[in-house]
């Protein structure tokens, strides 16, 4: 038996350093992979979308995986980001790259507006954000606002299109989102978020400022969605409100994150690459078959592996090592 005073501390420190190293690999490997992505796969737009979705899945990771609040209306931030960036670029004439930050700001603004929804819990929170996302969409697409948002007729960013810049922007954005998750996961902030998720009031009695930390996590998630929407809009060039305010965006991100496994750095990335890969292989030519496979995957996931691929893998490893320990002793 390990003495808690003697052996505990250094061992824990070592373990922590090891997980941090593994987590940083989970940032480096996808970033390196996507840097050379065009060598393996020639559809640049799909790779950009995939990077955006990796980041979005990690936004869900921060919001749901660490705090337990599932934002079904995540697409509201995403669409707001696309429009925020577009308006900044077309009306304020900021450079496109800078416009992406405006997208993040738009996402954060919508996120701040929705903060009162945290009075709700669980499924109610999820649905209320869904309604809020639809409401934001309806407002942006409203014909009465045509002079500002061009109403239902969408936007056109062809004047600032630049495939190289877009690819690099998406890559940097994904890297930052992954780094944010690593920071959250390995910090006291992340620990406190997990405590809040387990028991909000106990966390408060442990001195954690629940409202502040939860809002901070929410704002990070909103910023990721905002920038994601901005890059998505830039890459898509011509888009209608229904393309950026699409509840399928939330659901993709949620399912990618859950499929891979939330609370980890690898999970949502793996989930996105696999499922979005499947989508690009099957979904584009026959979307209904993809929707079917995808729906069945969700059902199977929730019923048989609610902790996702990573959770599944961990359980398998644990079982294996238990068996080995059993054989040895």
């Amino acid at each position: 038996m390990l003495d808690s005073k003697g052996g505990g501390k250094p061992l824990a420190g070592l373990l922590r350093r090891k997980t941090l190293l593994l987590d940083l690999l989970a940032v480096a490997i996808p970033v390196i992979g996507f840097s050379f992505g065009l060598n393996f796969y020639s559809n640049e737009l799909l790779l950009v979308y995939m990077m955006v979705y990796v980041a979005l899945a990690h936004g869900i990771n921060i919001s749901y995986g660490f705090t337990g609040y599932l934002p079904f209306g995540y697409f509201g931030f995403f669409g707001a980001g696309a429009y925020g960036a577009t308006l900044a670029i077309l009306d304020l004439h900021v450079p496109a790259l800078l416009g992406m930050l405006f997208g993040g700001v738009a996402g954060v603004l919508v996120g701040l507006l929705l903060l009162p929804l945290f009075r709700l819990r669980g499924a109610y929170f999820a649905i209320a954000t869904l309604a809020a996302g639809e409401a934001v969409a309806d407002i942006v697409a409203n014909p009465s606002l045509q002079s500002i948002t061009n109403g239902p007729y969408g936007e056109n960013l062809a004047s600032v299109y630049s495939s190289g810049q877009i690819y690099v922007a998406a890559l940097v954005f994904m890297a930052l989102a992954l780094l944010a998750v690593v920071l959250v996961k390995n910090s006291r902030f992340g620990l406190s978020l997990r405590a809040i998720k387990e028991s909000e009031y106990s966390a408060a009695m442990a001195g954690v400022n629940v409202v502040q930390l939860r809002s901070l996590a929410w704002v990070i998630a909103a910023a990721i969605a905002g920038v994601g929407g901005a890059i998505f809009g830039w890459a898509t060039t011509v888009f209608y409100p229904s393309a950026v305010f699409d509840s399928a965006i939330s659901v993709f991100a949620i399912v990618f994150a859950l499929f891979g496994g939330t609370g980890s750095v690898w999970g949502p990335t793996l989930g996105t690459v696999l499922l979005y890969g499947l989508y690009s292989a099957v979904g584009l030519s026959s979307p209904q078959y993809f929707q079917l496979i995808y729906g069945l995957a969700i059902v199977g996931l929730i019923l048989f592996a609610p902790r996702g691929l990573v959770g599944f893998g961990r359980a398998a490893v644990r079982r294996l090592s238990l068996r080995r320990a059993g054989a040895n002793g």
Binding site: A195, M205, A206, G207, N209
Partner: protein, 237 residues
């Protein structure tokens, strides 16, 4: 005379039509352990929940070291020195035992026991690296206690820490709690087990249906007619 740490004045709490607390008043001093007893549903846990900010009282005031507590949040109360354990323990199940205590220790103002010292104190050192959810109920209650202690509270409410323990464990817990009184800390101990309280507290408040029906020494409480009637023989337990 020791300093007053916490004072309640006329605290009332209703849930819909139910009066869970009616004009409850008392105070505790530094270094003192106060017993809070009463039959099931008499409002003991509700009282803790009110003082520790989970519920807002419908009436009454609370003073910490003479300063009135206005409308505040649980985490501020925790930082300013009021803390508690839970009748049904609520550890952060997926965090390790050590992390459970570390989270609280990170928010401590001033100094106090280190995380390792706390884990040793509540006898959980051996389990430090284990997930809190895998502990048994008695261990989880001690973890609750450790987590509360990590904030070095001036007044600590303990909600039925002794329930379900055997006599040897009870004696150990009583000793543990008594040692917490050093350094001017105040304790409010909710407990059904009179033998346990007898070793620990000087004074008790007896609640029934949200009302204080007795206030004084434990021995004289046991002789009080109304207290006897309310407990209907559970006193002997």
């Amino acid at each position: 005379m020791a300093d007053e740490i916490l004072r309640l004045e006329g605290i009332s709490k209703h849930f819909g039509g139910l009066s869970a607390l009616q004009e409850v008043s008392f105070s505790v001093e530094g270094g003192e352990a106060l017993g809070l007893v009463g039959p099931n549903g008499s409002g003991k846990t509700t009282l803790i929940n009110v003082v520790c900010g989970l519920y807002t009282p419908n009436a009454g005031n609370i003073y910490l070291e003479g300063a009135k507590l206005g409308k505040t949040t649980p985490h501020k109360l925790a930082k300013s020195g009021i803390n508690r354990t839970f009748q049904v323990p609520q550890p952060f199940a997926s965090l390790t035992v050590r992390e459970n205590v570390e989270i609280a220790a990170a928010h401590r103002r001033g100094d106090g026991m280190s995380v390792v010292e706390i884990l040793d104190f509540v006898n959980l050192g051996k389990w430090a690296g284990q997930e809190a959810g895998s502990l048994n109920a008695a261990q989880q209650k001690r973890l609750d206690l450790g987590r509360a202690l990590a904030l070095n509270p001036k007044v600590l409410f303990v909600d039925e820490l002794g329930a379900g323990l055997n006599p040897a464990e009870l004696a150990e817990v009583a000793a543990m709690l008594r040692s917490l009184l050093n350094g001017g800390r105040a304790l409010v101990v909710v407990e059904h087990l009179m033998g346990f309280l007898d070793k620990l507290v000087d004074r008790v408040i007896v609640l029934n249906a949200g009302r204080e029906i007795f206030h004084g020494g434990l021995r004289s409480a046991l002789d009080d007619g109304e207290v006897k009637r309310v407990f209907l023989g559970t006193v002997g337990a």
